[in-house]
Amino acid sequence: MPMLPIAYEPSISKVMSSWRTSKPIIDYSKCTRCSICWKFCPDVAINLVTDTSLTAPNERFKALEAPVIDYNYCKGCGICAEECPFDAITMEREEE
């Protein structure tokens, strides 16, 4: 029986956090939930979730879906930080 190029494990099980040299940090007090970062993320590493416990510029924004970065897949490209119209995302250098 030949070796087949078939994987039974989905690629989502592979954690790529070691690819990163700096990580994006969202300052939710500046985040208007515009979802531009979510649209621009080339690796689908940003999820939109409704979480009222997160801070916001004012109370009305808390009911909207907020971006949450999945650091297992974020490769630290910095596009979200570049594109955020409210400068709510900063890139922080990661050691090791």
Partner: protein
């Protein structure tokens, strides 16, 4: 034993291939219908439309998509077929590697045509000799009968679980593709029993999802899979020979072995050819034999896996051997010459010459073959151009 019904029909090579596809119980045909496509898929589309062939015809937007779609349909567990030619094959090149690497045993017919520029639609084999490293088994046919039989044989060999590779079935443009010959139509029932149902161990299965052709890191099984593929191909020759015998017995057919030795028993000088140009070479051999010259012909039927051992056996004791190429590789001698010489290297001492013939559909005449046989007695192993109007 049940009697085998057979019927002789006058068919072009393209029609013979289409008949072979029906005999092989193919369920999906996918093709891009524009030049350089041939009447193979035109005939198949007609057969699907009038209900003669119980299959689905997928009209795609390119040859790349044609190959991609048959890879996918074959993986669902139904026999699939496509056909193309010259520039179409070049456009398919990436997907050809995928078909072989995914171990998908599809069969494709290729009408050998020249590659431009200058633009040409005529016969020559450069288009498929270009694809020899893609991991496809390659069969070069000499007659319309072989063109049809090689489809059925191709599925049988490719689907063998020790091989599991796609098969490319070649016929020369116009000389076979558009020329009518008597063809013995094989019996549908016998053919379906001979092939059985397609049985893939890793077909697409929604209850057990799999990723096909996933990413592997350098320490993953990349090299191992390539080695496995190479070994499966390289070791297939023995199994192919047995399968040809089996085919001949089942259908009362007359396919040659992986190579055909024509008047080679006591030959001193011989040529090696592939495809329909072999028929003129055989005629020349017979003519020279009548004049008392001890000449012969080795015809390559399976080009990949390369039948090196068979060529070696046939070449033993020869005083001169000429490799006739109807294809061109730049910056080195011909690819078949390289294959032959590497098979003989260090094992027999036979001078080997290399001829280039018939590019862009130029006729290869009896007097050209006579000249090639004459030149075997002298000269070096440089490539020699036959019937060419420049020095």
């Amino acid at each position: 034993m049940e009697s085998i019904q057979s019927a002789r029909r006058i068919m072009t090579g393209n029609e013979a291939v289409a008949a072979g596809v029906k005999l092989a119980n193919v369920k999906i045909v996918s093709a891009y219908p524009i030049t350089p496509q041939t009447t193979i898929v035109e005939k198949l589309a007609e057969m699907v439309a009038n209900g003669e062939l119980d299959a689905k015809f997928i009209e795609v937007e390119s040859e790349h998509s044609a190959m991609s779609s048959v890879i996918a349909s074959e993986l669902t567990g139904v026999r699939s077929f496509t056909a193309s030619s010259s520039h179409g094959i070049l456009y398919m090149h990436e997907a050809l590697h995928w078909a072989a690497g995914m171990r998908v045993p599809v069969v494709m017919s290729v009408v050998n045509r020249a590659i431009g520029p200058p633009w040409s639609i005529w016969g020559e084999q450069t288009d498929t000799f270009n694809q020899r490293d893609t991991g496809w088994i390659q069969i070069y046919c000499e007659s319309n009968q072989e063109s049809m039989d090689s489809i059925i044989l191709g599925y049988k060999i490719g689907e063998n679980k020790r091989v599991l590779l796609p098969v490319m079935n070649m016929l020369d443009a116009f000389t076979l593709s558009h020329t009518s010959e008597p063809v013995e139509l094989r019996d549908q029932k016998t053919s379906m029993e001979y092939l059985g149902d397609l049985d893939l161990d890793a077909r697409i299965d929604f209850s057990n999802p799999m990723g096909y052709g996933s990413l592997v890191p350098p320490d993953g099984p990349f090299m191992e899979m390539k080695k496995d593929m190479r070994d499966s191909m390289y070791k297939a020759t023995g199994m192919i020979k047995k399968e040809i015998d089996n085919f001949n017995e089942t259908f009362n057919a007359e396919l040659p072995g992986v190579t055909e030795n024509f008047m080679m028993e006591d030959a001193d000088y011989a040529l090696i050819t592939a495809g329909a140009i072999s028929s003129t070479a055989k005629y020349t051999v017979r003519k020279l034999r009548e004049r008392g010259q001890k000449v012969g012909l080795i015809r390559i039927y399976f080009y990949r896996p390369f039948p090196g051992e068979d060529v070696l056996r046939a070449a033993k004791g020869l005083k001169g051997l000429g490799v006739v190429e109807r294809n061109l590789s730049f910056g080195q001698r011909g690819p078949m010459f390289e294959d032959v010489v590497s098979s003989l290297y260090g094992r027999v001492d036979v001078p080997v010459r290399n001829y280039v013939v018939g590019l862009g559909g130029r006729d290869i005449r009896v007097k050209d073959y006579e000249l090639m046989f004459e030149n075997l007695t002298e000269g070096d192993n440089e490539m020699e151009w036959v019937n060419v109007k420049v020095k």
